[in-house]
Amino acid sequence: MKQIRALIAEDEPILAYTLLQMLQRLWPDLHVAGVVENGIAAVTEALAQRPDVLFLDIKMPGKTGLEAAQELAEEWPDDAPFPLIVFVTAYDEYAVQAFEHAAADYVVKPTSDARFAKTVERLKARLEQHTEHDAELQRIVDQLRTLVPGVPQASSAGERLTIIRAGIGNQVRMIPVADVHYLEATDKYVNVVTADGEALIRTSLKELLPQLDGSQFWQIHRGTVVNIAYVEAAVRDDTGKLSLKLRGRERMLPVSRVYAHLFRQM
């Protein structure tokens, strides 16, 4: 039988060590393939190691556990089973309620051997079921939809953005928000794409999102927000991947698994 492998993402070294010790005590067959200390390393290591079980601390520098899980759900390759994710959190009533609600696996620190043993049993049972590799991914996508809070919307028209000011050379171009086809996050910038061309602005997508009209601008990927008025169709290719066809545009915009449900037929 293939050995079960785990990855631990926890920023506090003693807590990572404690979790490691507990796993060695209660699940001696499990091989812990690595311990990482921040959310960014959690994503890269998980994609590189493809563990069967992933322990994700919620509060980590770089990326929170939830952000890391969302990014993994989007980036995970089709040919490998998605890992079982166990969220790890310190006492926080809100978070615990959210996990209960989303039916997600979670561990509250500090935890006892007796409680942790139950988590281990549940994980073992799920691993033995040999569910289809898509099922676990679908599960986490559904959970994330409940767990990740929606983008807060600008409460008044005054806070809503109507014009995007983009610096090009020595001039500032005024781009009406309604003319924007889509917004695409690059490293530190956002690329604003219109019929006339593209412009880079130095604001993050995260800062921009709450200022946009949520009924008009839909997030379709971690780094892409599309103006739904310019979307002609959602197309599914042979491998099941969903992408959007925009009016008068050759390039298709990929829709991540997390947002695919927005484009199901009525």
Binding site: D11, E12, P13, I14, L15, Y17, T18, Q21, E37, N38, I40, K59, P61, G62, A90, Y91, D92, K109, P110, T111, P152, S204, K206, E207, P210
Partner: protein, 363 residues
């Protein structure tokens, strides 16, 4: 208490009151003279009536109001003695007023009386009515002043109570132990107990010191800088165990300032902000330096970190930005209530990254 409040406004509050009352009386005197001339139709000119009215009225207010203020001060006079005072004052004012007016007008007293005698009944009713009206007016005025003073005192008392309650509440808020921090620390302890008992013992000592200092701070008005620094030392010691090599810290308290008394928990929120929003979310972590310095008659308290900086925290989590704001505005409100304009709190960006938070309070 009422008197204390009134006294503070004017050097001679009773004299001021009396002069105002005399001035008001002159208005009544003028009206009475008008009535006597054109309504009662005494056989004397308006000028004569006015002079007589002024003389009688001024004497009346001197006797009644002056007597009241001299005997009872600003307090409400007891009813019966006050009425007695009026009964004596009214005829006296009438008699001496006429006596005073006669040489002023160059008319003998007998002629003045004769002029009035022709319409004696109307004269009697008029004089009585004016007295009753004027007395009623001043009686009410005394009551109103009393009520106003009481209302003002009540308002001042309510404001003082509110201020105290707000102070206590702000202090309690700042002395709160976050459950998240507490349980994370306990989880670390749980791991250390098995792996490294001496270190676990040390961490437990620090946790006890932190809890004790935090809880006692919510009750004290003032605490020594040494105590404040030992609280921050315990907190940073706990965070150091948790964050490991990601956190370095230094506390710098000169011996001369050890016994200086300060309001409790003023710096602690700045340190917690630096950890929570600056260093904990930063992948490489960083350092925090805490300093106390004397600058003339001012105490300068500084918390410097090399974390994500003022905007760094806001970018990664929008709702965290507002909690920094609440913590800081709590400090500002406490400083304002304790020292007014003599205390300041400033936040500046540190180079290359992080925040310099500085508090100044008078020594």
């Amino acid at each position: 208490m009422n008197q204390a409040i009134t006294t503070s406004r004017h050097p001679y509050p009773l004299l001021r009151r009396f002069l105002i009352d005399v001035a008001i009386t002159q208005v009544f005197n003028f009206i009475i003279a008008l009535l006597l001339t054109f309504v009662v139709r005494l056989h004397s000119t308006f000028v004569v009536n006015l002079v007589v009215s002024v003389c009688i009225g001024t004497l009346a207010v001197t006797f009644i109001d002056g007597g009241r203020l001299l005997i009872w001060g600003d307090r409400r006079p007891p009813r019966l003695p006050f009425i007695l005072l009026m009964l004596v004052s009214a005829p006296a004012a009438h008699y001496f007023g006429t006596l005073l007016a006669s040489p002023l007008l160059g008319i003998p007293v007998e002629s003045l009386d004769a002029a009035r005698g022709r319409n004696a009944t109307a004269m009697l009713i008029g004089t009585t009515l004016s007295f009753v009206f004027i007395i009623w007016f001043f009686w009410n005025r005394a009551n109103l002043a009393q009520l106003a003073a009481e209302a003002e005192a009540e308002k001042a008392r309510a404001a003082a109570i509110e201020r105290q309650a707000m102070q206590a509440q702000l202090q309690m808020l700042q002395a709160q132990i976050e459950p998240h921090m507490l349980f994370n620390t306990l989880a670390n302890l749980q791991g250390l107990i098995a792996a490294d008992p001496p270190r676990a013992q040390h961490m437990l000592d620090q946790l006890i010191q932190y809890l004790r200092a935090t809880l006692s701070s919510s009750r004290a008005d003032k605490t020594s800088l040494a105590h404040e620094f030992s609280l921050m030392d315990a907190y940073l010691g706990l965070m150091k165990v948790r964050m490991g090599s990601r956190l370095a810290y230094r506390l710098d308290l000169p011996d001369a300032l050890v016994n200086e008394m300060v309001p409790p928990m003023l710096m602690q929120p700045l340190v917690e902000n630096a950890i929570k929003h600056g260093l904990e979310p930063k992948i490489d972590g960083g350092a925090i330096t805490i300093r106390a310095e004397r600058d003339g008659s001012t105490l300068r308290l500084t918390v410097v970190d090399t974390g994500l900086g003022l905007n760094g925290g806001k970018d990664s989590a929008p709702h965290d930005g507002s909690s920094v704001h609440v913590g800081l505005s709590n400090i500002c409100e406490r400083l304002q209530a304790l020292y007014g304009e003599r205390a300041t709190l400033t936040l500046q960006p540190n180079t290359p990254s992080g925040v310099i938070a500085q508090l100044t309070i008078p020594l």
